[in-house]
Amino acid sequence: MRIAIAGKGGTGKTTIAGTLARLMARRGREVWAIDADSNPNLAVTLGVPRDTHADLTPVPRSILQTDPADADGKRKILSVPASDVVQRFGHSAPDNVKLLLMGRVDHAGAG
């Protein structure tokens, strides 16, 4: 199951995402939470210990490689399985939720 939560800023996306992640994990599912917001604060809602927030690093772009199946060479794929990415770069939250940070995005020239 792959769920994205969208809507206007301030309408509770992060609160819903973090709370849903924890509660689904309590129902026995392995949950990965991805913070794709350019102003990430899912860690707070998930309850990642605050003294570790300074150490929360995003998933490095270096794990992407060019998809050999793409003739144009533009499509990128992970160079390792997703579960390895989570194991190496996921941050632990209560109820065994794993948090992945996508990193801040430079909006200059975006789009």
Partner: protein
């Protein structure tokens, strides 16, 4: 296409190739990320429906884009619903725009207190907002 956005999209896409886990993505505010295709790899798009005009309009555009991207399930969740009039506004908007409403999270002071303290809502004493989100968790996992 901005390179940073493309990289994030590729990262998310790669991680979402794994279908054994539940993956929940807290998206960037607004609709731009969806139109760039970040939402292409998900099977469920939840749009928040907070009962005020600008928020509902943004959610409507998110839902439309989600359907254009062929996301199998585009669903609405009411949030910060204070009273019967709010509930009616959310239900009416969802119905008018064909967005299946799977729940409505009541306005709850526990949310404000958790935001203020920087603590997880889910760890706060029992409250109506968490009760409804837990019901939604059960619904989503069962469907």
């Amino acid at each position: 296409m901005c390179g940073a956005h493309a990289a994030v999209r590729h990262l998310i896409g790669g991680i979402l190739e794994d279908r054994q886990h539940v993956t929940i993505i807290d998206m960037e505010a607004g609709v731009e990320h969806l139109s760039r295709g970040t939402g292409r790899h998900v099977d469920t798009l939840l749009v928040t429906l907070e009962p005020y005009y600008k928020a509902l309009e943004t959610s409507r555009r998110c839902a439309e884009l989600g359907r254009e991207l062929n996301i199998p399930h585009v669903l609405g969740i009411g949030n910060k619903v204070r009273d019967a009039a709010d509930a009616e506004a959310v239900q009416g908007f969802a119905a008018a725009h064909g967005i299946p409403l799977i729940g409505s999270i009541p306005f709850d002071d526990a949310v404000r207190r958790a935001d203020l303290a920087g603590t997880p809502l889910v760890d706060a004493p029992a409250n109506a907002a968490v009760f409804e989100i837990d019901r939604l968790a059960g619904f989503l996992l069962a469907n």
